[in-house]
Every structure is written in C-alpha cells, then in structure tokens.
C-alpha cells in the first residue's frame, strides 16, 4: 500500500505512535484497575480519561502559545507540557 500521499515524517510518526501508546496504556490500566471519578484540583469531577484529554488539549495550547509568543526552544514547552500532564493526572 502506497502511503506517500499521507506525507509521513519520522517526527509525526513518532507523535502518533506516542499518542497510540498512551491510549493503549490507558486502556490496559483501566482494565487492570477501573477508575473512579473524583474531584481534585480541577473544579469538576473527572475520570482518568477526562484528565488525559484535558492534559493533552492543554499541552497543545501550551505548545501553540510557545510558538506564537516566544522564540525560545520548543523542548522547554514540551517539558512544561509533560509536567502539566503528569500533575493533572495525579492531582487534577
């Protein structure tokens, strides 16, 4: 099957593989230890999946703000996003 039209690059392939691995990991985690919705630092009751969604959406906005507002290297935004996502999953 010719996938040239999809114009894959190693970076985007890595990005989607990471997302897929996160989703598979979350599914296995859910099967092994079903999640209970709770209220943490966020002002709403969330499940693990909700917190992941909020974390990923927030990370996308962190990266966009970084690209649009600063000239600093992008890896700093990635580090901030990973910290944000981890904190949200743990205490959100």
């Amino acid at each position: 099957m010719n996938l040239e039209w999809m114009a894959w690059t190693p970076v985007t392939a890595g990005f989607f593989i990471t997302i897929a691995l996160i989703l598979i990991g979350m599914t296995i985690w859910e099967i092994k230890s079903p999640c209970v919705a709770r209220r943490g630092l966020l002002p709403l009751i969330t499940t693990r999946g909700d917190r992941l969604f909020i974390g990923l959406l927030g990370s996308a906005y962190i990266h966009l703000s970084w690209v649009g507002l600063t000239d600093f290297p992008l890896w700093i935004a990635t580090v901030i996003s990973v910290c944000f996502l981890t904190a949200l999953m743990r205490w959100g």
């Binding site: 040239e4 039209w5 999809m6 114009a7 894959w8 690059t9 970076v11 985007t12 990005f15 989607f16 709403l44 969604f53 909020i54 959406l57 996308a60 906005y61 990266h63 966009l64 690209v67 649009g68 992008l74």
Partner: protein, 290 residues
C-alpha cells in the same frame, strides 16, 4: 459466559471504528503531516518543523478573521436565543394552528445551505430583489456587495431567518414538556406572566436551551456556505470568516502547509469550545437532577 458475551460486543463497533478511521483519523493524520512540511508536489516535500504554525499564529488576517467569527457567533446567539424563546412562547400550544406554525417554521431548515445564500443574493439585490429595492426606494442606499455594514446586516438577517426556527422548535419542545400542574399552581398563587416565565418556564427549558446554545454556537462558528455564496468574504475582507480564509489559503493559494497548520489551530479552538460547552451541559444536567 456473560463476560465473553459482553466482550464480544466490542466487535460490533469495529465497522464504526473503520468508518471513523477513514473519514476522520486518517485525514487528521495527513493534515498533521502536511502542517510540518513545505509541499511542492508529489515526492517533493521538505520538513520545516513548526514554521507554518508560527506564520499562521502571527498572521494578522487570521486574528481579524477569528474576531469576526467570534463577533458573528456572539451576535447570532444574542439575537436567536431570545427571539426563538419569544416565538415559542407566543405560538399556539395545541391544535392545527400549532402544527401549521411548526411546519412553516421548519421550512428554512430544510433548504440546502448554498441555496439559502442564493435566495438572499436575489432577495437583497438593489435592482430586482424585494428587500433591496424596497430599502433603496425608501431613500436608503443598500448594497451588500459594496458596503461592509450592509453585508453584515444581510448575513445576520439570513442567519437569523435560517436558524432561529431551530431554537423555536427546541424551546417549544421544552415548553410542551412542562406539566400542567405547574401552571395550575402558579394560577392559584396569582403569579404574573413574567413570574411564570422566570420561575417555571425558563428553569424547565434550561436543558433544551443549553443544547440550542451549543448547536447554534458550533454551527455559526463553522459557517461557510452561506457567506461564501452571499458575499464571498467581501466587500474587502469584511465577512471573511475563519472557514472562508482557510479555503482561500488551501484552495486559492494552494499553500497546503500553512492551510494544514491553520486547520489544526481551528480544530483546537473548536475542540476547546466543544469541551467547555459539554462541561456546561453536564453542569446544567447535574443542577436539574439535584
């Protein structure tokens, strides 16, 4: 045994998964791939990182289009929501008159979106259009192709005419679901029409009105066909909304990289609003249950 049967049910969602993969996930992946490359043609592409995102985020025309879009959606909601509720309140509640009103109101919803634009082009033409010629014969110069205010007025009128019926239908359904006992209790208490609306009808319509708000915001935020047919984004850029500007970049200029980056930013904005509205809806439903 029952566990196996439950798990087997997952296979039944496979067709949906395949359809979604081909209609949404694979195109989305392709857009992400395009957004980080400069594409000249088949096999001729170069990785540029997030350069297109930076270009698009710093593009003042995109900022203008975003503000225009938000203004348009805000105005549409400010007009359509109260108007829709007001019409639903004044409609006949029962009998043939009620059915007739519902059928007439639903008519604009059945017309294809590009046809709506064409209807309003003809309707507002200064020479042969009923509205355009009437306004001009009253001594007021009206031309939606030359004047930005006229173009906005026409667009707003068209949008309100097209979509207020949806709010009416939802509000009417909400009103019909209120048990008669509430009105009888209000009558015994001697409640005024305003008190009945404020303390009975409005709280009971909260759920359907939130759904109406969601639908109308999302539809108006994604609007393309009607303004494209009616004004083409003009005069100048006066009615160039996000979708029209995106199509100009993608199809008009054939800048696939910036268009892909723009699409992803547009997608993220919509995703954020969808999530916020979904949370609002959940909060409303939670409030109704408690």
């Amino acid at each position: 045994m029952s566990k196996w049967e439950n798990n087997r049910a997952w296979f039944f969602i496979l067709p949906v998964f395949v359809i979604v993969a081909f209609s949404a996930i694979i195109p989305l992946m392709t857009v992400v791939n395009y957004s980080v490359q400069d594409i000249f043609g088949p096999g001729q592409r170069f990785f540029v990182g997030l350069e297109w995102f930076r270009e698009v985020l710093l593009d003042t025309r995109l900022h203008d289009a975003l503000w225009r879009q938000l203004t348009f959606s805000g105005l549409v909601l400010l007009i359509e929501m109260p108007l829709g509720v007001a019409i639903a309140l004044t409609m006949p509640k029962k009998g043939w008159a009620s059915s007739l009103c519902l059928v007439i109101l639903a008519l604009p919803l059945l017309i294809p979106w590009n046809v709506i634009g064409t209807i309003w082009i003809i309707f507002t033409r200064p020479d042969i259009g009923l509205m355009g010629s009437l306004i001009n014969s009253a001594g007021i110069s009206f031309d939606h192709t030359a004047n930005a205010f006229d173009a906005w007025t026409t667009l707003m009128l068209m949008e309100v005419w097209h979509w207020t019926p949806l709010v009416v239908l939802l509000a009417f359904a909400g009103l019909r679901a209120i048990p008669e006992a509430y009105y009888q209790a209000a009558k015994i208490d001697g409640a005024s029409p305003w008190a009945i609306f404020r303390y009975i009808q409005l709280p009971k319509m909260r759920g359907v009105l939130t759904i109406a708000l969601l639908l109308r915001f999302m539809d108006s935020f994604l609007i393309y066909a009607e303004p494209f047919v009616l004004t083409g984004g003009g005069p100048g850029n006066a009615t160039t909304f996000l979708s029209i500007y995106l199509v100009k970049i993608a199809v008009g200029q054939f800048d696939l990289g910036p268009a892909a980056a723009f699409s992803l930013i547009y997608f993220l904005i919509i995703l954020l609003f969808c999530w916020l509205f979904y949370q609002a809806l959940q909060a409303v439903e939670g409030g109704e249950k408690s």
